[in-house]
C-alpha cells in the first residue's frame, strides 16, 4: 500500500526547523496511482510512464541517485513538484553537486529533498546546496538538526541561497547576494 512519505517505515520528513507534515506518497514501480494523489516515483518509472503519471496524479515527484543524468531529467523539471536525491551512504557527496546544479543551472524551484544516511551535521551544507526538506530515520535528532543549522552565521562561499559572502561583506556590499538572486 502506498502511504505518505512521512509514515513510510518510521521515516519522517523535516525541514530546517524540524518535522513537517507531508502529503507525498512513495509508489513502488508496480503500484497504481490513486487519482488525485501526490506521488513519488522512481526515475525509471517517470521515464516510462510520464504521460499517464502527469495525467492521473495531482502532483508528481521523482527520486534519483547521486549519479543522475541531469540532462535526462531536464525535460520533466517544469512539471515536477518534488525531487528526492538519495544518499547511497553517509559520505556520498554527489547529492551536494546535484542539488546545486538543479537550482543554479536548471533553475528548478520546487521541493528538493534529501533521503538516506546523512546526519544532522550535514544539513547546513545541504541547505546551502539548495535542499529544503529531508527524509530521515527515527534516530535523526531534531535537536542536533536545530543546533547544526545554526552552527554558522557567515560563509566564505556563496551558496544556492545567494547569501552575501564574507568577501562581499568586507566590501560593505551587504545586499549583493540578495540582489543577484
Amino acid at each position: 500500500m502506498a502511504s505518505p512519505v512521512n509514515q513510510v517505515g518510521s521515516n519522517r520528513v523535516l525541514d530546517r526547523n524540524g518535522p513537517i507534515t507531508d502529503g507525498w506518497e512513495r509508489l513502488a514501480d508496480d503500484e497504481t496511482v490513486k487519482p488525485g494523489a501526490a506521488v513519488l516515483v522512481s526515475f525509471q518509472r517517470l521515464k516510462n510512464e510520464h504521460n499517464a503519471l502527469f495525467a492521473e496524479a495531482a502532483a508528481v515527484g521523482v527520486e534519483v541517485g547521486g549519479d543522475v543524468n541531469l540532462d535526462e531529467l531536464e525535460p520533466f523539471l517544469p512539471r515536477l513538484g518534488l525531487i528526492v536525491v538519495r544518499f547511497a551512504f553517509m559520505r556520498d557527496g554527489r547529492p551536494f553537486s546535484v542539488g546545486r546544479l538543479l537550482r543554479e543551472r536548471f533553475h528548478y524551484t520546487r521541493d528538493l529533498r534529501a533521503v538516506g544516511d546523512f546526519i544532522p551535521d550535514q544539513i547546513l551544507f545541504l541547505l546551502r546546496c539548495g535542499f529544503n526538506s529531508f527524509e530521515a530515520g527515527p534516530d535523526f535528532s531534531v535537536d542536533a538538526l536545530k543546533h547544526g543549522v545554526a552552527a554558522y552565521t557567515v560563509w566564505y562561499q556563496r551558496g544556492v541561497e545567494r547569501n552575501v559572502t564574507i568577501a562581499e561583506r568586507r566590501l560593505g556590499k551587504e545586499n549583493l547576494g540578495q540582489e543577484s538572486a
Binding site: 559520505r91 557527496g93 551544507f125 535528532s141 554558522y152 562561499q157 566590501l171
Partner: protein, 552 residues
C-alpha cells in the same frame, strides 16, 4: 602574515563550538563512531594505534612566533611535550585525549590555528613554497592565492564530501619547492606573453599505490578566474570520481579513466557553464589579502657584510652550515635559514616544547617574528640579517637544531610508520634513524652532496618515497618488515617517479643497501654531478650491479 578579521574569527569560533557539540554527542553516544569518524577527521583527529592523533594545519607553511609558542604550549599541556612536523606543512600530536580536544581547539583558535580539513575527504590544508615571498625570481607570493584558497575551501557547501582527500599546492618561482606535480591540483604561478599573471594548472598528481605525475590541464589560467576553475574541476570530480573503491577514488584515477583529453573537455565544459556564477574573488578582496603579504620593512644593508664573511672564514663548522642551511634572500644583506629537524639519530620532524619555544624566541629576535614549515619536515627563519647568522647558528646549536645537513643524505623524510600508524606494514622512523647514524660524519655528507631519502611505512606513501632520489617503502613479507628500494624519484620542477631497483631488503639489510647505492654513485659521478643527475645519466644498471652483484 595574514591577520584574521572579525569574519575569520567568527568562523573559527563557530567551528570550535560545533566540534565541542559533536564530541559531546559522541561521548554521550548520540553519534555512532561511524557517524563521528568523518566529523572528527575533518577536524584533524585520527584514532591511531595507541591514542588519538591531532593534526593541526600550518596554512601554506607560515607561522608567527606567537603561533609557535602556542604549539609548544599544546605539546606541553595536552601531549607528552613534543610535536611532529609533517610533510604537508602540518604539525601532529600523537597522544591526545578526545575529551580535551575542544578546549585545545579553542586555545588554537585564539592564534588563528585549527585542525580544519587536515584530514577527511575534503580539500586539505593548502601548501606552498616554504620560501614564499623571500626568494628571488618569484612572480608572485603564492601565499596570497593560498589564503584565498584556504577561505574558499573552508567548509565548502558542495565539496566537503569528496570521493577522497584533495590536496592543493602552489608555487610562485620557477624552481618548484612545493612539489605541485604530485598534488591533486598543483598551481604554478606564471606570466603569459602579455605579462599578465596567472596559473599553469596541473591536475591528478598523487602518490599512494599508483604514483602519478599530474597532467597539465591549462598552460595559463587568468588569476581572476581561479576559483571558478577550481570549482569546475572539483565538481567534475565530486560527481564522477569513484566512490566504490578507496584505492581508486583519487582524482588521478578519474583523469586516467576518462583520459586527459576527455577530463579536460569535461572541466572546460563545466567551467563555461559556471564561470560567471559569482564564485571568483572580487578584485578588491584579492588586493586586501595581498596587502598582508607585502614585504616587511627591511633595513638597507651594504653587502658584503664583513662580520658574516669573516665568521665564515674563521669557523669551518659555521661555513659548512651556511653552505647547506642558508639560502640567498631577495633582499641584500638578508638570508633564509633552514632549521634542520633532522639531528643524527633523531626522529625526522620532531620538536619538543622547549625547542619550539626557543625557535619562537629566535624568530622574534632575528626573523621579524616569522617562521616557515617546509614539506621536508624542517623549519625556516625567512628574514635573518646576514650579520645575525652566526648568533642564530650558535643559538640553534644550544637546542640541537644546528645540523648542517639541509638537503643532504641525513635530511630524511619519514612517515610515522609502524611506531604510530595503524595502516603501516613496517617501521619508518627507526630506518631513518639508522641511516642517519650510518652517515653521521658531516664531511662525508657534504662530499655526497644533495640527496633526498624518503621513507614510507606502507604503500600509502605519506613519506613520499616515490619522489625520493632514494625511496624506501616498507612492506610486509610473511610477517616480517621488509623494505623496497626505489631510485630516481624527484619532487621538484623536474618531477619523476622513482623506479623499483630490485628485490627488497630486510630491516638489517636496508641501511647497507642505501650505502651501496651511494658508494656506486660516488664511484661513477662526474665533477659537480648530483646523485639525481648521475642517476638520470647512467640509469639503474650500475646501482643494480652494486646491490645484487650481477649485471643484467
Amino acid at each position: 602574515m595574514y591577520i584574521y578579521d572579525d569574519f575569520d574569527h567568527t568562523i573559527a569560533k563557530q567551528r570550535v563550538a560545533e566540534f565541542r557539540d559533536q564530541v559531546n554527542r559522541r561521548i554521550k553516544g548520540e553519534l555512532t563512531e561511524e557517524q563521528f569518524r568523518p566529523l572528527r577527521l575533518m577536524n584533524g583527529l585520527y584514532l591511531q594505534l595507541h591514542a588519538y592523533m591531532l593534526r593541526i594545519a600550518v596554512p601554506y607553511g607560515t607561522l608567527s612566533a606567537a603561533q609557535m609558542r602556542k604549539l609548544a604550549h599544546i605539546a606541553r599541556v595536552y601531549d607528552r611535550g613534543y610535536g611532529h612536523f609533517t610533510t604537508r606543512q602540518n604539525i601532529q600530536y600523537n597522544w591526545i585525549k578526545l575529551e580535551q580536544v575542544p578546549d585545545l581547539m579553542a586555545e588554537l583558535a585564539t592564534v588563528q590555528l585549527h585542525g580544519n580539513q587536515t584530514s577527511g575527504n575534503c580539500v586539505r590544508n593548502v601548501t606552498a613554497d616554504h620560501f614564499s615571498g623571500v626568494i628571488d625570481g618569484e612572480i608572485e607570493d603564492p601565499r596570497i592565492v593560498s589564503e584565498a584558497i584556504r577561505q574558499w575551501s573552508t567548509f565548502h557547501p558542495e565539496f566537503s564530501w569528496l570521493p577522497r582527500k584533495f590536496k592543493i599546492a602552489v608555487t610562485g618561482a620557477e624552481k618548484d619547492r612545493a612539489a605541485v606535480q604530485w598534488h591533486d591540483i598543483g598551481l604554478h604561478i606564471v606570466r603569459d606573453d602579455a605579462g599578465e599573471v596567472g596559473y599553469a594548472v596541473y591536475v591528478g598528481g598523487g602518490m599512494g599505490r599508483i604514483p602519478v605525475l599530474a597532467t597539465k590541464v591549462r598552460g595559463f589560467l587568468p588569476k581572476r578566474e581561479l576559483l571558478s576553475y577550481l570549482e569546475a574541476i572539483l565538481r567534475v570530480y565530486n560527481r564522477y570520481g569513484r566512490r566504490d573503491n578507496i584505492h581508486k577514488a583519487r582524482i588521478k584515477i578519474l583523469v586516467r579513466d576518462l583520459g586527459p583529453e576527455e577530463f579536460i573537455r569535461q572541466v572546460e565544459e563545466e567551467w563555461e557553464a559556471s564561470r560567471h556564477s559569482g564564485v571568483n574573488l572580487p578584485p578588491e578582496e584579492e588586493i586586501r589579502i595581498a596587502r598582508y603579504f607585502e614585504p616587511p620593512a627591511y633595513e638597507k644593508i651594504a653587502v658584503p657584510v664583513a662580520a658574516f664573511e669573516d665568521a665564515k672564514k674563521a669557523n669551518r663548522a659555521f661555513a659548512q652550515w651556511i653552505s647547506t642551511n642558508v639560502h640567498p634572500h631577495k633582499t641584500p644583506g638578508y638570508a633564509i635559514v633552514t632549521i634542520s629537524l633532522k639531528p643524527i639519530g633523531g626522529i625526522p620532524g620532531d620538536a619538543s616544547a622547549e625547542q619550539m619555544e626557543a625557535v619562537a624566541s629566535l624568530a622574534e629576535r632575528f626573523s621579524l617574528a616569522e617562521i616557515r614549515v617546509s614539506h621536508i619536515q624542517n623549519l625556516v627563519l625567512p628574514h635573518v640579517r646576514q650579520a645575525d647568522l652566526f648568533a642564530v647558528w650558535q643559538e640553534l646549536g644550544k637546542i640541537g637544531f644546528a645540523n648542517a645537513n639541509a638537503g643532504l643524505v641525513t635530511d630524511i623524510i619519514a612517515c610515522p610508520g609502524l611506531d604510530y600508524c595503524s595502516l603501516a606494514n613496517a617501521r619508518s622512523i627507526p630506518v631513518a634513524q639508522r641511516i642517519s647514524e650510518r652517515f653521521a660524519d658531516l664531511d662525508r655528507q657534504h662530499k655526497i652532496g644533495a640527496l633526498q631519502i624518503k621513507i614510507s611505512g606502507c604503500i600509502n606513501a605519506c613519506g613520499h618515497h616515490h619522489a625520493g632520489h632514494i625511496g624506501i617503502l616498507g612492506v610486509d613479507k610473511a610477517g616480517q618488515e621488509f623494505y623496497q628500494l626505489t631510485l630516481g624519484g624527484a619532487g621538484d620542477e623536474t618531477a619523476s617517479t622513482g623506479q623499483l631497483i630490485g628485490p627488497g631488503f630486510s630491516s638489517d639489510g636496508i641501511v647497507d643497501a642505501v650505502e651501496k647505492v651511494i658508494d656506486a654513485y660516488l664511484d661513477l659521478r662526474q665533477p659537480n654531478e648530483t646523485f639525481i643527475s648521475a642517476y638520470r645519466r647512467v640509469g639503474p644498471a650500475p646501482f643494480k650491479e652494486k646491490l645484487y652483484g650481477v649485471s643484467r
